[in-house]
């Protein structure tokens, strides 16, 4: 009986010890410049948020487009041209709305337009602030809304060779990386 008692205590301790799981340290938010750096993607970076989303065929697909700067090396910018490639057999573009960053949290109305053809969207925006010329730091550029066409999964990404960021003097700012997003339609 006493041996059984001792064994029970030992088993309890062993069970507790085995339950001391060490979780993986995974930080992978695309809007986090540290997480991007850990994946070898330098700033400034064009990213989509969320990085993965699962929707049904009746849902809309909302994808945010962001520019991510490293905190200590931001560069002011005013204009952007983003070329986005999306799987047009999986979804169709519904609309694109300016992000809160480029609208200066709804205090200004930017120059904002886009064109699309098959699977490519070209988005042009220029910040038209009332008290400042440029934007600086990480921020939300636009929201892209798609409608699913069929089930499946694919990804959306930037065509970096065609993407341009300029300051108010039209000087180009280098973009060092991009992160796409995965869409799963069920």
């Amino acid at each position: 009986m006493r041996i059984l008692h001792g064994l029970k205590i030992s088993l309890l301790v062993i069970t507790i010890v085995c339950s001391c799981t060490i979780y993986d340290k995974i930080f992978d938010n695309p809007v986090d410049h540290k997480a991007n750096e850990e994946q070898g993607i330098g700033a400034p970076t064009l990213v989509f948020y969320p990085k993965t989303q699962t929707v049904t065929q009746t849902d809309s697909i909302l994808i945010g487009s962001f520019i991510v700067f490293k905190e200590d090396s931001t560069e002011p910018f005013s204009g952007i041209h983003l070329q986005i490639e999306f799987p047009n057999e999986l979804m169709e573009l519904d609309t694109i709305v300016p992000g809160i960053f480029i609208t200066d949290t709804s205090q200004s109305t930017p120059l904002f337009t886009y064109t699309y053809d098959d699977n490519i969207v070209d988005l042009y925006a220029y910040f038209l602030g009332t008290v400042k010329l440029d934007l600086e730091g990480t921020g939300h550029l636009a929201d892209l809304i798609f409608n699913p066409l069929t089930t499946g999964n694919d990804s959306i990404g930037y065509n970096l060779s065609e993407c341009i960021i300029v300051d108010h003097e039209d000087a180009q700012i280098d973009i060092n990386g991009m992160r796409g997003a995965e869409i799963i339609v069920q």
Binding site: R2, V13, I14, F27, N29, V31
Partner: protein
């Protein structure tokens, strides 16, 4: 207290000078010598208070005091000098007897015993020793010594056993030691195991809360696209992650130590568990236990 006595014994075959050297007064010891060896005459003299104390410090103790023994023999006109030393140590008696021949001055017989005291044990052991030197050992004295032994060992039943102590300590640390009568050891084991267990529980709780907090912060971190919130949640999650690793290691170490201590405590209880005494009677003594004076 040192008690010295000098007694002269004369019998038909040989004459003895008996020197008693005791660490405390022993009432009736003189009378017992007179009664047990009535063919001898005893004279007692307590003027000598230290004799042959350093005999074991010499390479050849048998011949160390040859001249002194011869002098004593001539002074008291005896054939032999018999020295008895008795020292009490708790419930035990440490007895030494030395028999010298006054013609040569050499040590011809020596006895050392360390035994558990028993009823009238001191007088009986002295009678046995003196009787052996005079070849007058009575059966009654030998029978009386057997009182310290169990007459029917097969009837001995052990109420407490080492395995009983070990099992108790396995159930509750320190219980086996307390069961064996070692209260200090019991308290120490119980305190050590209790401290280790509390430290382990505390570490595990800290691990658990850190792990939960880490998972919660990771969830919030993934769920936001606000730069500031991302930085805040990431900082908190990183701190929680470091904490949960630290406390996990600490909890595992403490659990291992607690378990090892628990088993060690049980083994300790078994090793030092209750066992019958085996040193009731011991012939000879280590040098360091020799009585001085």
């Amino acid at each position: 207290m040192l008690l010295s006595g000098i007694a002269s014994a004369f019998d038909q075959e040989a004459t003895y000078l008996v020197l008693n050297h005791f660490d405390k007064p022993l009432a009736g010891i003189d009378r017992s010598l007179i009664d047990n060896f009535n063919n001898s005459t005893f004279n007692f003299d307590s003027s000598v208070d230290a004799l042959f104390e350093d005999i074991d410090d010499h390479d050849n103790p048998a011949s160390k005091y040859m001249d002194d023994i011869k002098d004593l023999g001539r002074t008291h006109n005896v054939n032999f000098v018999l020295l008895n030393r008795i020292q009490h140590s708790g419930d035990r008696l440490i007895m030494e007897g030395l028999l010298f021949n006054t013609r040569s001055g050499g040590l011809i017989h020596r006895r050392k015993i360390n035994l558990k005291n028993y009823n009238n044990g001191l007088v009986n052991e002295l009678s046995l020793w003196v009787g052996k030197t005079k070849n007058q050992v009575q059966k009654g004295w030998e029978k009386e010594r057997e009182a310290i032994l169990f007459l029917n060992p097969e009837e001995i039943s052990y109420d407490k056993t080492p395995i009983g102590a070990a099992l108790r300590s396995l159930a509750v640390p320190g219980w086996g030691q307390a069961y064996s009568g070692n209260t200090l050891s019991a308290g120490l084991w119980a305190a050590i195991e209790l401290s280790l267990s509390l430290a382990f529980i505390s570490s595990y709780n800290n691990y658990d809360s850190s792990a939960k907090s880490y998972l919660e912060n990771i969830k919030l971190y993934d769920a936001t696209d606000d730069e500031k919130e991302i930085a805040d949640y990431r900082d908190s999650a990183e701190k929680d992650w470091d904490d949960h690793v630290l406390y996990s290691k600490l909890a595992i170490t403490l659990a291992g130590t607690t378990l090892t201590g628990w088993v060690s405590n049980s083994i300790h209880a078994w090793i030092f568990g209750p066992r019958p005494y085996t040193n009731i009677y011991q012939k000879g003594m280590p040098h360091s236990t020799l009585p001085k004076g």
